[in-house]
């Protein structure tokens, strides 16, 4: 009996271990298989895009059919970079556009710097509120640049509120939301607006965001592309390549893009107004808006496109210290959870297509709860290895698998980059990026997982994440 009893007790943990072991191995293999599939979609999409881009290069001289665009730049305490980024916005090559900088009740001298640099004068704007936002204190117009207006408003506590004020003031049917700590490529608007011209059902377009750290920016122009010297910023170069080149391009192939980066997104204004503008309560207002657009068009049964252009069109300042980066990642994870929950009824909805049946489940399983499974896998395998429940070989294989698949995906993003834009000019940059693709798996990836879990827990507990002060690199700061 005793023997039987011990044997029964032995069977249960063994079965449990085997299930856990298969679960973790299976999870890792599945997640990377899905990413690899997205990669394949992205290859097709990018190849087709480049073919068309080459053939339509001559159309750049034909502009009478271009749609006018309002560029909205929300700014809160952006005193260091606002002049550089506004100048960059004013130098964009586009036939008809306006720039609206929204000073979201900054406590520093953002507004005063703008007034001085662009010779702003009060403007009698017949303001009308189409989407909700905090009170607008005044509108200014530049005496130097007729296309520049600055909206001064009370602080709304969120970028969404500032963007809504910009939407209320902007004149044109298409608006482009750009972060104040970003600069645009001169041809960015032309490239991002092209989907609206080519596909009339387009309601939103995302652009590829790249890391500005390490680049040389002068007078609002990107003068020279370079890799950042800071390791954290360099890892983010790889992360952004993965996220934009095959993450979003892959989903774009299925009209299932769920995120258009807040750093650069172009929207059909009327569609956004119809869904109520940005949600000021949302932490990830960019993703929440895209999900709301998907939901609105799924409910109305109208054809629509939310697309993505792979060209590197917007350069943003990446955090270079752990504290700022950590806060950013906690916020992103919180925003992801919040947005998915707000639109949970899109999940497996009958007419929601790839959005409800593929993209949202993917984001729930791999992006939202993925970090928990991954960390649990590391902990389980370490404990199991130490306790002798599983052999050291198996533990080793597990870690090699996690790292190997991670490196493989980052390398495939490098391949996509080489196939398409080859932004970093020197061959040694490629080696450096490959080195980072390996090194990020030792420490950085695990820290990121911890931040993401903190974001997830914060969201589950209903705790509002901190913004904290963003420490800037010198890339976008005026000399």
């Amino acid at each position: 009996m005793a023997g039987d009893g011990r044997g029964g007790a032995r069977m249960r943990p063994t079965a449990f271990l085997q299930i856990a072991e298969w679960l973790f191995f299976g999870y890792f293999i599945l997640i990377y298989f899905v990413y690899a599939l997205l990669n394949v979609f992205a290859v097709f999409r990018i190849r087709r895009y480049l073919q068309v881009a080459e053939l339509t290069a001559a159309d750049n001289v034909f502009s009478s059919l271009d749609l006018p665009v309002s560029v909205i730049v929300p700014a809160y305490n952006e005193s260091d970079s606002i002049i550089t980024s506004t100048r960059a916005m004013l130098q964009v090559e586009y036939p008809d556009y306006e720039v609206i900088v929204v000073n979201d009740g900054s406590s520093d001298d953002t507004l005063q710097k703008l007034i001085d640099a662009f010779n702003l004068r009060p403007f009698p704007e017949a303001y009308r509120q189409r989407v909700p936002c905090k009170k607008v204190r005044g509108v200014y117009k530049s005496a130097l640049f007729p296309t520049l207006r600055v909206v001064d408003k009370e602080n709304g506590g969120s970028k969404a509120d500032a963007l809504n004020a910009g939407i209320n003031v902007c004149r044109y049917p298409i608006f482009c939301a750009v972060d104040a700590d970003s600069i645009l490529q001169p041809d960015s608007l032309r490239r991002a607006v092209r989907p609206f011209l080519e596909e009339p059902n387009t309601v939103a377009t995302g652009g590829t965001v790249r890391i500005a750290n390490g680049c040389v920016v002068r007078g609002g122009f990107l003068e020279k592309v370079g890799l950042p010297s800071n390791f954290l910023a360099r890892v983010q170069v790889i992360e952004y390549l993965r996220a934009f080149l095959y993450g979003r391009m892959g989903w774009s192939q299925m009209n299932a893009v769920l995120i258009i980066s807040g750093a650069f997104g172009v929207f059909d204004k009327e569609a956004v107004v119809r869904v109520g503008g940005y949600n000021a309560e949302a932490i990830g207002e960019d993703m929440e808006l895209v999900l709301r657009l998907h939901r609105h068009f799924c409910e109305s049964g109208r054809d629509y496109e939310i697309t993505f252009v792979p060209d590197p069109i917007c350069w943003t300042d990446a955090p270079e210290d752990l504290n700022t980066l950590g806060k950013q990642r906690i916020r992103w994870q919180h925003g992801l959870g919040q947005s998915l929950r707000l639109h949970k009824d899109l999940l497996f909805r009958r007419n929601s297509g790839a959005v409800g049946w593929l993209a949202i489940p993917f984001f729930y399983i791999f992006e939202l709860f993925g970090p928990v499974v991954e960390i649990a896998g590391y902990i389980f395998m370490t404990i199991a290895g130490l306790s002798g429940w599983i052999s050291w070989e198996t533990t080793g294989i597990f870690f090699c698998l996690a790292i190997g698949l991670g490196v493989m995906l980052s390398t495939s993003a490098l391949v996509l980059e080489e196939m398409s834009f080859s932004v970093y000019p020197r061959v040694r940059d490629l080696f450096k990026l490959f080195g980072v693709a390996i090194l990020e798996n030792f420490g950085y990836r695990q820290i990121t997982l911890v931040w993401r879990i903190r974001g997830l827990v914060g969201w589950l507990r209903g705790k509002t994440p901190e913004w904290g002060e963003m420490k800037r690199s010198s890339s976008l700061t005026e000399p």
Partner: protein, 359 residues
């Protein structure tokens, strides 16, 4: 804890699967990195090759845009097969941007170099990219013999191929091509506006006007709206008379707004007056816009009530239109603003006057 488990309990199968996955990942990573490196090297070599080709051929092609006096046919013989497609691409690049008599000089150069043969060969190859290049080149070269091959591509699912074929057909025979293409313009919303605009401009208003007017008359509202975007490629007078007629015979608000937006000339007062009070705000807005463009004294009485419209855009466009009226100076505008009872009308006039630099 250790005593509760046999050591180790891991299944051989999962270990093997994981080991295989590690091996595959490592192998693939190596292959991918080498491929990325190979792509970089190939890009560098391609760029060098292209630079050499351009150094040799750009002066010749550029020279051909100025003078038809050249003799370089023998040079093509020394070009590798792969470089011939590159040369054709460079030739097409030049040909895209030049206008006037340089066209024929470039075509003569292409003839001497045997680029027509190169293009025809690429047309029947398997590479989509080369096929597109060939269609473009055969169009530029006006190759009648390839008409049927290119016409087939008009119905191609790939938008780029179909629109490139359409442009090529216009180059070969604009009259014949526009008659075939115009009905497709309304029916294929996926055709890029910029490209359609390009092909219509290429054909010119004399060829485009008739088929465009016919297509608009026969089209449903959506198609007609799409076709109206190409107003500027046709003769203004003919288009305006057609629109004036259609504005009284059709009632779809989207069509009315698109038609009003297109008009560049003037419409009879009674037509526009009716539309300025239309129930759809976007029709009223376009009517205000049009009245601003017309600048007629008699339109002023239609515009003033629109300053108090319920819709901001209608008020805004009416205010902009009023500030543009040539017979109203700053003082008259200030008086007009001061006599408005409606604060919304006053606000919008303040704004429009400030925008026009009148305040």
């Amino acid at each position: 804890m250790r005593s509760g488990f046999p050591s180790p309990v891991v299944s051989e199968l999962s270990s093997s699967v994981a080991l295989l996955a590690v091996a595959v990942a490592t192998g693939l990573t190596t292959v991918l990195f080498l491929y990325a490196l190979g792509l970089r090297v190939a890009n560098i070599l391609h760029a060098r090759d292209l630079a050499r080709l351009r150094k040799r051929w750009w002066p010749i092609i550029a020279g051909a845009t100025i003078s038809a006096d050249f003799d370089n046919a023998s040079d093509l013989l020394v070009l590798k097969r792969g470089s011939r497609a590159k040369l054709l691409r460079e030739w097409c690049r030049f040909r895209t941007y030049v206008r006037g008599s340089s066209d024929s000089s470039l075509e003569l150069l292409a003839e001497q170099l045997g680029l027509l043969r190169v293009a025809r060969r690429l047309m029947h190859g398997r590479s989509v990219s080369n096929k597109l290049l060939a269609v473009q080149a055969l169009g530029f070269l006006g190759d009648d013999e390839s008409w049927d091959d290119i016409e087939v591509l008009l119905e191609h699912d790939n938008i780029t191929i179909s629109i490139t074929a359409a442009i090529a057909l216009v180059h070969i025979n604009a009259n014949k091509a526009i008659g075939m293409i115009m009905p497709l313009v309304g029916k294929r919303p996926s055709w890029p506006r910029t490209q359609v605009g390009r092909l219509l401009n290429l054909a010119g208003p004399d060829i485009v006007t008739g088929p465009l007017c016919d297509a608009i008359e026969l089209a449903n509202s959506d198609e007609a709206c799409r076709l109206l975007r190409f107003y500027e490629s046709a003769s203004m007078n003919d288009m305006d008379s057609l629109i004036a007629r259609l504005l009284t015979s059709r009632s779809e608000p989207a069509f009315l707004a698109a038609a009003l937006k297109s008009v560049r000339g003037q419409l009879p007062g009674e037509v526009i007056e009716g539309l300025a009070t239309h129930e759809a705000w976007f029709v009223r807005m376009q009517a205000s816009n049009l009245l601003g463009r017309s600048g007629r004294r008699e339109d002023y009485r239609i515009l003033e009530p629109l300053l108090s419209d319920a819709e901001w855009w209608v008020r805004y466009r009416a205010a902009q239109a009023i500030t543009k009226l040539p017979f109203l100076g700053p003082n008259a505008l200030r008086k007009l603003r001061d006599r408005q009872d409606d604060p919304y009308a006053q606000d919008i006039l303040w704004q429009a006057m400030a925008e026009a630099g009148l305040e």
